[in-house]
Subunit: 914 residues, 2 copies
């Protein structure tokens, strides 16, 4: 019966643009045509083509959506005719008539974008019913109650979605529901299905009156008018608020548009031998290979979703509808074999006959994504490459972050929610200052640092905390950045919370907590809970740290499999951004092959060092400065010894001092006074110096190599520490291989690099002579201001490597301060001005073009120029893909993102090879 | 006798790089070879070639300087031999022998860069004297006193310059001078020339001992050792501190290097029929065509310069040395005819015989530059194009700025000096706050606003002041920028001054002045004076303003001539940056052809508007905001009516609101309280809102189009005001032509522009419908962040014009805050990392490349894209040249720079045509 449309039938339409694609007896599309037909339409066509029982229908392509928005919400001229032909074909296949009184064809009208956007756009069911056809339906089904129930459902849906009754209503309750409830109450009935046909008929009258009252228009009786109303509503829903928000969250371009699927209705509510359900070929939460789903007898699909009746688990069908269950299991197997992925499909049983209404690759948790991919490979359904491409790289994270005990979390008191900024779960005592966090931590307590926002001053406190909670700032705020860098759990912008620093309390939604009280935060969901919830390390982490056997953890096996495959296919090297031996060790355990960014400034905050650092900054001349630096030298050397040891011969890129010096100085009057006392300086002098160092735009001020040029003695001390550490390890009893790469920050002019280079080489010579040893090292620069990229040919004369500092490069290229974008970012997101947050995912059109320019021109000057990236983007899979194609040699991300980067790098290589 | 070296003699040297170029009987160079021979060397060759009496010599080329610094201060292998040959040739021409006992040749060794750098590098005279040759000189001159005086001068110079005796000396007094003074004192003699030959011989011994004591080396007796010592010192002096500073001030690249000129000595101190002098072919101060200069008999050149004896005016020579004076006048005429420019030349008369030692285009004041160029054209020595190219475009400014009465200034008490940041002269009462400045101004008093630094808050006070004096900040500080924009006199960074805001005093060098006291500042020189000095408008300004007749002012005639010529040859249109009708009128008088940048924010500071503006900013929602904006609308409309009228049909580019809103809010607690009272808001609310608007890096924060996107109602109000003003004028009884060009600031994404564009078009439609009139307008964007330049192809889809905002584009491209660079800029200047201040002169390699990219790609999308520049650079001649070559259609600078820009644009066109 089924046939794929042959060339002769499509010939005429190939002359003009084809807008309508049939499925059913004749099928024009297939699964590969997602761009044109949307995911749903393409899969309906595919299922029809392979003989699965799909109700016939047709798809209006995404091209029409594009046309619709480009032409003031109108349609191509030929569309009306094409749709009519397609409707007639569907009617013929169903042996019914659209708008026919005796044997009416009803259809559903659904959206379907390239990627599924569940629930975001509009759907209309039972379309084709009017005051006449409802009678026909009553008579052929021999079930007037069913017919009138369909009609009243249709009017309600149509009234809402197409005619906007709910939108016009100022109360939040749905006015259709209100009418339904009124009727039930006045009749003393509880459930919808207790209403009789006559009562439903009365309800239909009330619904129609409601529509007329609210909109001034009557509910349309012409079935084609109904159809075009529905099609317009679905296309229109592509730009509703929810859809826009969803797209901005999932990075779906507005240009894609949606298709519209029009399909013959089948009825799960035609009697007790009917039913409807949703099923997954495997468990979408855990990935386990079990048949998973739920169904309802004598119901339409919306009933399953709406939760009016509680659906039964799919397994129950084996007893209740055994024949259909056997058929369904066959469909399950067939679908997975055919689509080679876990499927999420909808079915309807109409009077004992099974129909499949939709199938798609099922949404799944990160864990499930990994398990399914690995197991599909084990089952030989897909190869390793395909398996890797099926796992969203981010999902690896779900195997690594600490988790709350699910039961404990459910029982805990939710205070409010904020932005999930650092995944994982953390519990601890509230500390409102960095100092307090440290005190608690030293007592052995777990701490959650709660601040309106954080600053570099708070770094130590953050290091000592389990998690960070802020009331201001977004997922790109200082708190979030540092938290992710440190692998800390973090929630940002929990705006409901008010912190009173004086009284040392935080208040949200009527709950007030004091300093020292327990609080728990789930950085994966953004939820903040009162009290303590126990959390634990992930199994993977425990195996990597040796506190659990690999053989005992299936999660670890999954992780390990994915990582091994990734390493096999990726071309990019994965480095990490780490400042301490501990961070370096974690990163190596996660698979880091080197350090791409060691921020030396973090080393100056520890213990008493900050005092020496401050003395250095407050020095009035080079002599005083050198004196303070002399005290810092042995500490820096020790840092580097530790780091080199932890990296055991892997390359280590060390960035010289970068932040503006005032970041190291205390903002607090009391601390300033202490500092003045400690250094034996007048308080006024200290205050004046701090004032003198104040900058209007510190981001663009005296930082980076400008510091090293202004105070060469700082550069001297730092490189001396690096080279002496190298010498120490190379000449140790058990020598350790060392590959230092010295990175000069914020270079924009080749003369800047030349100036610092001269110091580096001079000190290297001195140390080698003094220690009587030779060692190799590299010197390069961070490319983080546009001028560095633009003049890459000149800068490569002096630089042996470029490392793209895409955080600052994004700030300068876009003229956009990461810390200050909060004021307008919501509005920008709403208006879809940035397709993605440019600090989370590389702005390829802007920043990316500069990078491309730098790569091309840098390599013209120096063929063997080493290229990497160390900005936050280096941990973002989409950006990693871009870096692969750009020809970088490595990406360097924070330790917890190393496994993600390994997978993303493999995926990039696999995609590029395609 | 003289001959130009023919090809046969240079053939051998053309095989290898030629380093030595002779002049004299054989001359290898000419005036066009400045790059290779330096200005002095090239002109010596030219003079020799045209038969002027030049002592023979040779030039070691700038290539050697380049080699010298590239090879650790060593020389090309072949140089020693070439120099020896050249020395021998000079000796032969002079019929003397270098190092010969009987008839010794003495030479001078002088620097000579492409552009003259007077006094910056080292010179050695009388080289070739030693214990033997001094006797020879004594005998052939028959004047032992003369010989020994030459020798002691030589030792002193050599000891200082080559052997570094003075540098080693810790006292500031020259130790050679000390010995000389000692001897005179012990002998009871007053003048140098009272010392006898024997006494000078004794002095020579003491000099040699001093050198040996200080340096541990003896004064060299080998004449070639002397020569190489001197050559090395001259090359070395290219990188002394003075030379580096001079280059950075005058924008001379370090790569040019210097040449070294070695020339036979002739002696102006050989007796009373000898002498030496410096002359100008015209007056270098006024440009008047008079013979100008001074001379001394029986003296060496250094005596004229050193001021030990007071030289006589050149006219006196007519009586004292009449024959030589006649010769000299002939030389004067010959030189000017030949070099076709005012010459500054040195001469020496040795026993009645005239020698010309050097000639160069004379340095001159701006006024002189213009007068000389115009008069040389009148005299038919040069054509208009050549004349235009001879005037440094900046010099036009000297015709325009107000001036102090010269006598009054001389008599006034100089307090200290700062950086000359806004040229001109201003006198007024001291005001320490913007508010006080306004109060004084309203009383009708002239005011000098004295601040440690200024902020946008101070704008009104600056507008009311005659001049601005700051103790901090450089020539690119806020004060300097605004002052130049407003045409105000300004001195910045007068670091000797301490301001005590509490006591309302300023103190410098022991002088304390109170608020209300008179102070005078000369913004051209940076001098600060106590008390009142009268100043007056320039003649040009008075003519342009109609308070003086054009025919009465020769200065105006000069100005007008230069401007007429400029307009004839330039291709660039000249617009102005003006925010008020008064500024616009001034600019039009100066020749502006349109407004390229009207900053609407300045309009919001006037009178009570700031309160409405603040109310708008503090609004909690769109409703409140619209209410406040409603009050601002009529004021804005009035502003635009005034501006359009003043521009009388010329195009007017209006930039929508740009600065971060917190710039409009008061920083001062008292003012905040007043504001809260006035608006009926709780003080806490006001403080909180101000806190909420605080930004870490306001430069990169919520400003530019981000404001208009966040608060569309601001854009609506502004464009409504613009279009209503246009409609009003077009429909007035006497209609005024109007060409508004609306500029959206800080665009980086085309979606930003599209968003604002929609508002502009919508409001335009509304106004046109309401006013029943059609008008044309343009909408474009400022290109001021790198991303705008990089995605110019996309942005040009929506923009009808690009205006390069190079101030911000420089800040973002370089990652460099103009306000904060003071901390390290001195060091950068010292190390020559920036070839010029990138905010004063366009960074062509970096920012320029982005501009090029934007032009090319913008025009690809939109062929008729209008292109201009409105950053500060638009008033910088060098940057104007770049803009011409880039193919921009206009530059827009501050009103006082319009004439400069006209000339610079003409020069750019003329240079490009070459």
């Amino acid at each position: 019966m089924k046939k794929i449309s042959d060339s002769s039938t499509t010939k005429s339409s190939s002359q003009k643009t084809r807008y309508v694609y049939n499925f059913g007896e004749q099928t024009d599309g297939n699964a590969s045509m997602r761009e044109l037909l949307g995911g749903k339409g393409a899969n309906l066509a595919e299922m029809a083509a392979i003989g699965l029982p799909v109700p016939p229908g047709f798809t209006v392509s995404t091209d029409v959506c594009t046309y619709f928005y480009a032409h003031g919400r109108s349609y191509p001229k030929t569309l009306a005719k094409d749709v009519e032909v397609a409707v007639k074909s569907v009617a013929k296949q169903m042996k019914r008539e659209f708008g026919g009184r005796d044997n009416p064809l009803l259809v559903s009208v659904r959206s379907g974008a390239r990627d599924s956007m569940p629930g975001m756009m509009d759907t209309i069911l039972n379309l084709g019913l009017n005051d006449e056809t409802v009678e026909g339906l009553a008579s052929i089904s021999d079930n007037p109650r069913f017919a009138w129930d369909c009609y009243r459902r249709f009017i309600q849906m149509y009234g809402d979605v197409v005619m906007g009754v709910q939108a016009l209503n100022e109360e939040s309750e749905c006015p259709f529901h209100a009418l339904l409830d009124n009727m039930k109450t006045s009749l003393g009935k509880e459930l919808d299905n207790e209403l009789t046909a006559e009562e439903l008929q009365e309800l239909v009258q009330r619904y129609k009156k409601l529509i007329a009252d609210k909109t001034g228009k009557s509910f349309p009786q012409d079935v084609y008018e109904q159809l075009w109303g529905a099609v317009g509503a679905v296309f229109g829903s592509w730009k509703n608020d929810r859809a826009i928000l969803y797209r901005s969250q999932y990075g779906i371009p507005a240009e894609w548009g949606t298709a519209v699927n029009i399909q013959a209705m089948v009825f799960g509510n035609a009697g007790d031998d009917s039913g409807t359900g949703v099923a997954f070929t495997r468990d979408p939460a855990t990935g386990e290979k079990v048949f998973y789903g739920e169904y309802l007898t004598n119901a339409q699909g919306e009933d399953v979703v709406a939760g009016v009746r509680t659906p039964k688990p799919i397994a129950a069908m084996a007893k209740e509808l055994p024949k259909n269950f056997t058929d369904l299991e066959k469909v399950r197997t067939r679908l997975e074999k055919h689509f080679k992925d876990m499927q999420d499909f909808e079915f309807t049983i109409e009077n004992g006959r099974l129909f499949i209404l939709q199938t798609r690759n099922g949404k799944r948790t990160g864990l499930a994504a990994i398990r399914i991919a690995v197991e599909l490979n084990k089952e030989k359904l897909i190869d390793q490459k395909t398996a890797l491409l099926k796992i969203p790289a981010e999902s690896v994270d779900t195997l690594l972050v600490p988790v709350f005990d699910a039961k404990a979390q459910k029982e805990a008191k939710l205070i409010c929610t904020g932005l999930p900024a650092g995944p994982g779960a953390a519990t601890g005592r509230i500390a409102f200052t960095a100092a307090q966090a440290e005190i608690e931590a030293r007592k052995g307590n777990k701490v959650i640092l709660c601040r309106s926002e954080t600053s570099p001053d708070d770094l130590k406190g953050m290091l000592h905390s389990q998690g960070i909670l802020t009331t201001r700032g977004g997922v790109s705020s200082h708190a979030a950045l540092v938290a992710r860098q440190l692998g800390k759990v973090c929630i940002c912008g929990a705006a409901d919370i008010t912190i009173n620093y004086e009284r040392k309390t935080l208040t949200a939604n009527g709950i007030t907590l004091k300093e020292g009280d327990y609080i728990s935060i789930n950085g994966t969901t953004g939820s903040v809970y009162q009290g303590l919830i126990e959390s634990a390390d992930s199994e993977v982490k425990r195996v990597l740290e040796g506190t659990m056997k690999a053989s005992e953890s299936y999660t670890y096996e999954l992780f390990n499999t994915v990582m091994e495959w990734s390493d096999k296919y990726r071309k990019l090297r994965i480095r990490t951004n780490a400042d301490t031996p501990a961070m370096a060790q974690t990163a190596v355990a996660y698979g880091a092959e080197g350090i791409g960014l060691c921020r030396t400034e973090h080393m100056f905050f520890e213990g008493s060092r900050i005092d020496d650092m401050r003395q250095m900054i407050l020095a009035v001349d080079g002599v005083q400065r050198r004196e303070a630096l002399k005290k810092l030298l042995p500490m820096q050397r020790k840092d580097f010894v530790g780091l080199f040891k932890a990296m055991a011969g892997r390359p280590v890129t060390i960035r010289l001092l970068d932040p503006p010096l005032h970041e190291f100085l205390p903002q607090d009057d009391a601390v300033r006074r202490q500092l003045a006392d400690k250094l034996g300086l007048p308080l006024e002098f200290v205050i004046d110096r701090i004032k003198a160092l104040h900058e209007e735009n510190p981001m663009l001020g005296c930082r980076g190599c400008r510091l090293g040029i202004l105070y060469p003695e700082i550069t001297e001390m730092q490189v001396q520490a690096i080279f002496e550490a190298a010498a120490e390890l190379l000449t140790a009893k058990k020598p350790v291989e060392v590959h230092p790469e010295i990175m000069i920050p914020l270079v924009g002019f080749k003369a800047e690099l030349a100036d610092q280079l001269a110091i580096v080489h001079r000190i290297a010579e001195q140390v080698m002579t003094r220690k009587k040893i030779k060692f190799k090292y590299m010197v390069g620069t961070m490319v983080e201001v546009p001028r560095a990229a633009i003049t890459a040919d000149e800068i490569a004369e002096h630089a042996e490597f470029f490392s793209f500092g895409t955080n600052d490069l994004t700030q300068t290229t876009l003229g956009l301060s990461r810390d200050d974008m909060g004021l307008f970012y919501d509005e920008y997101q709403q208006k879809e001005i940035y397709s993605k947050n440019p600090f989370a995912s590389l702005d390829k059109t802007g920043v990316g073009k500069l990078m491309q320019f730098a790569v091309t021109n840098g390599q013209k000057t120096r063929k063997d120029l080493k290229l990497g990236i160390c900005g936050e983007h280096a941990g973002d899979p989409d950006s990693i893909d871009f870096c692969h194609n750009l020809g970088l040699q490595y990406v360097s991300c924070s330790p917890p993102r190393v496994p993600i980067a390994r997978l993303a790098a493999a995926q990039a290589a696999l995609r590029a090879a395609k």
